[in-house]
Amino acid sequence: MNSGNEHLQRSYGSYQRSKRIVLLAEVLVLLILVLVSLSLGAVRIPISATVRALFAPDTISFQYAAIIREIRLPQTLSALAAGAGLAAAGSVMQVILQNPLGSPYTLGVSHAAAFGAACSVMFLGTGVAVGGDSGIIELLYPYKTMLCALLFALMASALIVLLSHIKRTSSEVMILAGVTIGALCTAGTMFLQYFADDIQLAAMVFWTFGDVGRVNWQELTMITVVTVPSILYFHMHRWSYNALSMGDETARGLGVPTERLRLTGMGAASLLTSVIIACVGVIGFVGLVAPHIARKVVGEDQRFSLAASVLTGGILLLASDLAARLILAPRVLPVAILTAFLGAPVFILLLIRGYR
């Protein structure tokens, strides 16, 4: 290899190193956020006690250990897993659909889940008033609601994939099918809300407020079991997604089975989204904004932008959850409100500044 070639290889090597450094920085930010998220809340726990609660719970007070291990740890890990999963799904959807608007929210999967939850409240009686005079509304049978939401989200995803398969899986068909199904589900939810009594209406609205605080260890396990293999699956197909971003013809010329890639990718992204939404409720913007921020930082190459999306999604949802707990403490806001408040300005800024 001559010196010119070595120079080119060195230049490309340092270019790749800079991307890896960005990913490493994101990992560090995420770790710091995890610690902060575990220590801050209605009760402030020192960082040292937080670390000890994780690795040596016997050395700190019982209350601190219980708060961290039973309340904050599942909530923090849920925010991390849900944010990472939604962002991974959004990143892959945007590449598969070759459209920057691709995300679980814009494709109607979230709306379908909300409709499923509303059906469960209305017809299975899962939303009731508890707590006597306090008037607190809770979902008495959260698993029934979750299952209904999951079922409807999966049905919507299957319908999008089926419709697009019939019409030869073009990205336009997938997006239009998603938007239509989303509109249909929103109309269905509004129809149910119109006939619901006060308590049912409150339960429906409560469910749509996506909130990682409602997740327990079982649900967290479920989210993780779906998120980790999905991300690995997306990572395995990173080269195919890169080829697809150059257009269908180029990708097929490179031996990438584009139709199968679209169907399996959409299937995996939809399943991932459905499970997360069923567990935590509707959380918009993370799946849309995180991949855009990631691409801005590390570029379009899916080898890096998928990992960056996953980390950015985790950071975004974790930061939003933290802000939701602190802004009006001791009152805790649903995190979905904060993701939109944080995500929308970031997205608009990206649009104004433009990105290449």
Partner: protein, 261 residues
């Protein structure tokens, strides 16, 4: 390397685009696919690379049906440069590296890197290898597309009107590059092209297409004006300059200059 197209037909819904095409191409060099708009050049190229599945017939490479090969195996034998590359913010090096996709397992090997670096140098793209594709001109983008196809290291290369949107300088550069690579690496290059004179200058063999059929095949030395007139329905005059045919539509020669009032 021998490419045989046997009784190949293609229909889109009820419209038949290609009709029973039979043609053999043998050995390295440039073959030009000529014909008017809508004659089926692009469809034929896509059928050869199985981007479109033929309605009937077969394409054989050294006697092996392309239908029996996996998509990756086929991509190792045929590289394809579409008419237009979809715009992406990917870097030039990464776009060229995509040509190694049919050869990749999980990681990019040193061999993949060296191959791409050599091709970048060869195509004159090394100075812009970290530029985003958005920053490139039309000619540079076409070079990236060709460089990506070269990175596939396939013995057959198909190009769909690679010079359509290029200025004269870039047209010449692109075709010179293809000629030298076809000669040096023994690659069979098949180009769909509209400019007859450019085609005659650079290609050695010609397939004339009309209404979904190949109606003539010819070596450079045997091209006649009758062939061109039959394909394009335009009377032409053929002159030979340094053993290269040069075609001029007769209609333009006979036209009187416009009178400006």
């Amino acid at each position: 390397m021998r490419l045989s197209i046997q009784d190949l037909s293609f229909s889109y819904r009820t419209t038949q685009i290609l009709h029973h095409i039979d043609v053999d191409c043998d050995g390295p060099g440039i073959t030009a696919l000529l014909g008017p708009n809508g004659s089926g050049k692009t469809t034929l190229i896509r059928c050869i690379d199985r981007i479109l599945r033929p309605s009937s017939g077969d394409v054989l490479i050294d006697g092996v049906s392309t239908g029996s090969l996996s998509a990756k195996q086929l991509a190792r034998l045929i590289s394809y440069v579409p008419q237009k590359m979809q715009m992406s913010a990917m870097r030039v090096f990464d776009a060229v590296l995509l040509g190694r996709v049919p050869h990749l397992s999980m990681q990019v090997s040193d061999h993949d890197m060296y191959t791409c670096i050599e091709i970048l140098e060869r195509t004159g793209l090394s100075s812009m290898m970290l530029k985003s594709l958005h920053e490139l001109s039309g000619g540079e983008l076409q070079k990236v597309s060709i460089a990506r196809a070269l990175a596939q290291q396939a013995p057959i290369m198909l190009l769909d009107e690679p010079t359509a949107s290029l200025d004269l300088r870039n047209q010449l550069d692109t075709l010179k590059l293809l000629t030298s690579i076809a000669e040096e690496q023994g690659i069979m290059v098949i180009i769909a092209i509209h400019d007859l004179n450019t085609a005659f200058q650079f290609a050695q063999r010609f397939l004339f297409m009309k209404e979904g059929r190949i109606i003539e095949t010819s070596e450079r030395g045997n091209v006649t004006s009758a062939m061109i007139e039959q394909v394009y329905d335009v009377p032409v005059e053929l002159q030979w300059i340094s053993k290269v045919p040069h075609v001029t539509p007769r209609i333009y020669r006979e036209q009187q200059p416009c009178q400006l009032s």
